[in-house]
C-alpha cells in the first residue's frame, strides 16, 4: 500500500461525497454516543473510587431478620480488642425525611471531641458554634423553604428540635455529600430518638491493609448476627453497578448497531452506474480483483478512522466541556437533591480500545460483501 493508492482512494471518496458523508455521519454519531456513555461511566467511577480511598476499612452492621438494627455500644470495645485493629468507632447516622420537599437527608452524627476530619471541618469546629453543616444540595432545598439560619427537625416523640445552620461544605466530591447533614452526635441521637448505649453501626480502622480480610472474618465469628463489609466489597460493588450500567447500555445499543450494519451494507451495495464504469475501467486497465478490493477497503478504513477519531474527540468535548446534558442522568439517577458535580476527565487506553472494538470491526465487516461484489464486476459487461 503506498501513498498514491491513498490519494486515489481519497479522490474516489470525494467523487461520491454525499453518499460517503451520509455513512460517515451515521457512523460518527454511533461512535459519539457509545464513547459518551463510556466516558460518563468511567468518570463517575473515578469520582467514587477517589472518595472510597477515604472510607474506613471495615463496616460492621447488626441485622435481625435481614434488617439493619442499631448495635450495642459494648461491641465497639470488643472489636477493638481483636489483634491488628487500630481503633473502632460507633457511628450515628440515618435518613431524615423532609416531607415539604419530598426528599431524604442523610444525617451523620459526629463525635465532636474527635478532631482531624478535614481542614474545613476543623475550622467550623474551632469557631465553637454548635449546629449543623450541610451539603450543597441540602442548602439549596432548605433555602427554597426559607430556612436560612436554622432548621426544625421533628423527633420521633413529636417535639421540634431547632438546629442552627453553621456552614456548608465545599463541593469537590459532591456525588456523595450533596444530601448530607453533619451535626454533633448527641443532636443526631435526639433526632433519631436513639438511646445512649446504641450506635447505628461500627467502623473499624486497621493498620495493615493485608489484615483486613482476616479481621473481617474474625468479627463475623464474634458477632454472627452482623454484616461485615470491607472497603474492597464496596469497591467491587461500585465496579459492578457501573460496569452493569454501561454494559446494559451497550446491549441496548445492539439494536442500533444492527440497524447501522444494515444501513452500511445497503449503502455500499448500491453501486451507481458511474462507479461501476470506474471499476470496470480499472479492471480493463489490468487491475486484479485483489487490487480493487484493496482500494475499496482503504476507502472504508479511511471513513472508519476519521469517524472514530472525530467521534471520540466529539464525545470528550460533549462530556467534559458540556458536562453531558441528558445522557448523564442515565448514570446518576434522578432525585431532587441531585448533586451538581463535575465529571472528572478520564483518559484510559482500555476505554478507547473498547470503543474501537465495539464500532470499527462492525463497520468494516458490513463493507466486505458489498466491496467484493463491486470488485468482481465484469468489465466487458459494465463498459458496454
Amino acid at each position: 500500500m503506498n501513498l498514491k493508492m491513498l490519494a486515489f482512494a481519497l479522490s474516489f471518496l470525494r467523487r461520491r461525497l454525499w453518499k460517503n458523508l451520509a455513512v460517515f455521519f451515521v457512523f460518527w454519531a454511533l461512535i459519539f454516543l457509545v464513547s459518551s456513555a463510556f466516558l460518563i461511566a468511567a468518570s463517575i467511577k473515578k469520582e467514587l473510587f477517589a472518595t472510597l480511598e477515604e472510607l474506613p476499612q471495615i463496616f460492621v452492621q447488626r441485622t435481625i431478620a435481614g434488617r439493619l438494627l442499631p448495635s450495642p455500644v459494648a461491641r465497639i470495645e470488643k472489636i477493638e480488642q481483636i489483634e491488628g485493629v487500630e481503633a473502632a468507632y460507633g457511628r450515628v447516622w440515618g435518613y431524615y425525611y423532609f416531607p415539604a420537599a419530598g426528599v431524604n437527608f442523610s444525617i451523620v452524627g459526629l463525635d465532636m471531641d474527635m478532631a482531624g476530619f478535614t481542614p474545613w471541618m476543623d475550622e467550623i469546629l474551632a469557631s465553637g458554634k454548635e449546629g449543623m453543616v450541610v451539603g450543597e444540595g441540602v442548602k439549596r432545598v432548605l433555602l427554597s423553604h426559607y430556612y436560612k439560619e436554622y432548621f426544625n427537625f421533628i423527633t420521633p416523640s413529636g417535639d421540634f428540635l431547632k438546629v442552627p445552620l453553621v456552614g456548608a461544605f465545599p463541593a469537590h466530591t459532591e456525588l456523595e455529600s450533596s444530601d448530607t447533614i453533619l451535626l454533633p452526635m448527641q443532636t443526631a441521637r435526639k433526632i433519631f430518638g436513639m438511646p445512649q448505649d446504641q450506635v447505628s453501626d461500627i467502623t473499624v480502622r486497621v493498620n495493615n491493609p493485608k489484615e483486613i480480610a482476616t479481621i473481617a472474618a474474625k468479627i463475623r465469628v464474634l458477632y454472627p448476627d452482623s454484616r461485615v463489609l470491607t472497603r474492597f466489597d464496596i469497591n467491587a460493588a461500585y465496579q459492578n453497578v457501573f460496569d452493569y450500567k454501561s454494559g446494559l447500555f451497550l446491549a441496548l445499543m445492539l439494536g442500533a448497531f444492527f440497524a447501522f450494519f444494515i444501513l452500511v451494507f445497503e449503502k455500499m451495495s448500491s453501486v451507481g452506474k458511474e462507479e461501476r464504469r470506474e471499476i470496470a475501467i480499472l479492471k480493463a486497465l489490468g487491475w486484479r480483483i485483489g487490487d480493487v478490493l484493496r482500494l475499496k477497503f482503504l476507502e472504508s478504513s479511511l471513513i472508519a478512522i476519521f469517524a472514530y477519531g472525530l467521534g471520540v474527540v466529539g464525545a470528550y468535548f460533549f462530556v467534559y466541556s458540556m458536562q453531558a446534558p441528558l445522557l448523564r442522568n442515565l448514570f446518576t439517577g434522578f432525585s431532587v437533591l441531585k448533586p451538581r458535580f463535575e465529571l472528572i476527565p478520564v483518559l484510559d487506553i482500555g476505554l478507547l480500545l473498547s470503543i474501537f472494538f465495539a464500532t470499527v470491526p462492525l463497520y468494516l465487516a458490513a463493507t466486505i460483501v458489498p466491496t467484493w461484489r463491486s470488485s468482481v464486476i465484469d468489465p466487458e459487461e459494465a463498459l458496454r
Binding site: A236, L250, F257, S354, F357, L364, A365
Partner: protein
C-alpha cells in the same frame, strides 16, 4: 451471565466474525464440491470469484482476531477487579471449567488462521489455483474450531459467577497445589530455564543450517517451553518476588504492561517460525529464518534482562 462492556464487546466481535465466516463456509463447501480448474462453466467462473470473497473474509477475521485476543486478555484482567479472590486474569480464566479450554483454543485458532493465510498466498502465486481445494478443506477445520470457540465463549461468560470466590495466581501456580501445571511445577526451575535456553540455541543452529522443517518444529516446541519458563523461572524476577509465579500479572500496569509486548513477540516469532516450513520455496521471497529468530531473540533478551538486572541490583539469584 454478567454484563460488562468488555464482555458484550468480546461477544459482539466474535458474533460478527462467526457470521462472516459462515459466508466463507458456504463458499468453501461449494468450492470443495465443484471446483475444477479445467472446466469452463459459468459455475467455475463464479466459484473463482467467490474464493476471493472467502479469502478476504478470512484475512479480515484474522486481522480482527489478533488484537481481539489481547482485548480478551484485557477483559479477563478487568474482570479480576470484580470477581472476589481474583487478583489477575489467572483466577478469572479458571473461574469455571471452560475458561482454560477457551483460552487455549483462541490461541490455536489464531495460529491456524495465520497458516491458512500462508497457504492462501501460496495459492495466489500458482497459475492454476493449485492449493485452492486444499486451503478450503483446511478452512472447514478452522471453521469448526471457531464454532467451538464461540460456543465455549458463550458457555464461559454464561457460567461466570461474579459472586463465587476464585483462586488467585498465588494458589494456581503454587508448587504444592494440585493444579494441572503441578507436574511441570515439580521440575526444578533451573532445569526449565536450561531447557528453554537450550531450545533457543537449537533454534539458532537450525537458522544457521537453514533447515526450515527443524526450525518450524523447534518453534512449535518453543511456544510452550517459553510459557512454562516464563511462569516458573522468569516471572519471579519480573515481579521481584520469589513466590510469585504468574503468566498474567505481567499484563498489569504495575509491571508497565510488559506482558503485552512479551506475548506479542513470542506469538509473532513462533508463528513465523512454524510457518517457515510451509513457506513455498519457489515464491519470490523465501521467508528469511532470521526474521522469526529475531523476534525470539527479542523475547529471550527481555526476559533475561529482568534476571540479570535483578542480580545486578541485589547480588542474589532468586531460584
Amino acid at each position: 451471565m454478567f454484563f460488562t462492556p468488555e464482555i458484550v464487546i468480546s461477544l459482539l466481535i466474535d458474533t460478527l466474525s462467526l457470521l462472516l465466516l459462515a459466508i466463507a463456509f458456504v463458499v468453501a463447501v461449494r468450492i470443495l464440491l465443484w471446483f475444477d480448474y479445467g472446466s469452463d462453466t459459468s459455475r467455475q467462473y463464479a466459484l473463482e470469484r467467490q474464493s476471493y470473497l472467502a479469502s478476504t473474509i478470512v484475512a479480515f477475521v484474522l486481522a480482527v482476531k489478533i488484537p481481539a485476543i489481547f482485548y480478551f486478555i484485557y477483559t479477563l484482567d478487568r474482570l479480576s477487579l470484580v470477581i472476589p479472590g481474583a487478583m489477575c486474569a489467572a483466577g478469572v480464566v479458571t473461574a469455571n471449567e471452560y475458561g482454560v479450554w477457551l483460552f487455549m483454543l483462541k490461541i490455536v485458532n489464531i495460529y491456524l488462521f495465520g497458516l491458512w493465510l500462508v497457504l492462501h498466498i501460496a495459492d495466489l502465486h500458482t497459475s492454476n489455483y493449485h492449493y485452492t481445494r486444499a486451503k478450503f478443506a483446511f478452512f472447514l477445520l478452522i471453521f469448526i474450531l471457531v464454532l467451538l470457540e464461540f460456543v465455549l465463549e458463550l458457555l464461559y461468560f454464561g457460567h461466570l459467577d461474579i459472586s463465587q470466590v476464585v483462586s488467585c495466581c498465588g494458589t494456581l501456580f503454587n508448587r504444592a497445589a494440585h493444579s494441572p501445571l503441578a507436574l511441570v511445577a515439580a521440575i526444578d526451575p533451573k532445569v526449565i530455564a536450561g531447557a528453554f535456553y537450550a531450545l533457543y540455541a537449537a533454534l539458532l543452529i537450525a537458522a544457521l543450517a537453514k533447515k526450515e522443517w527443524l526450525f518450524s518444529l523447534l518453534s512449535l516446541l518453543f511456544l510452550p517451553a517459553a510459557t512454562v519458563a516464563l511462569i516458573f523461572f522468569f516471572s519471579p524476577y519480573i515481579y521481584e518476588l520469589p513466590t510469585h509465579h504468574c503468566p498474567f500479572c505481567i499484563l498489569q500496569p504495575e509491571y508497565h504492561y510488559i506482558g503485552y509486548l512479551l506475548y506479542a513477540l513470542l506469538f509473532i516469532g513462533t508463528f513465523l517460525g512454524i510457518a517457515s516450513a510451509f513457506w513455498p520455496k519457489w515464491m519470490k521471497k523465501p521467508l528469511n529464518l532470521w526474521i522469526p529468530f529475531g523476534f525470539d531473540t527479542l523475547f529471550v533478551g527481555i526476559v533475561s534482562f529482568y534476571v540479570l538486572y535483578y542480580y545486578y541490583q541485589n547480588h542474589v539469584w532468586l531460584l
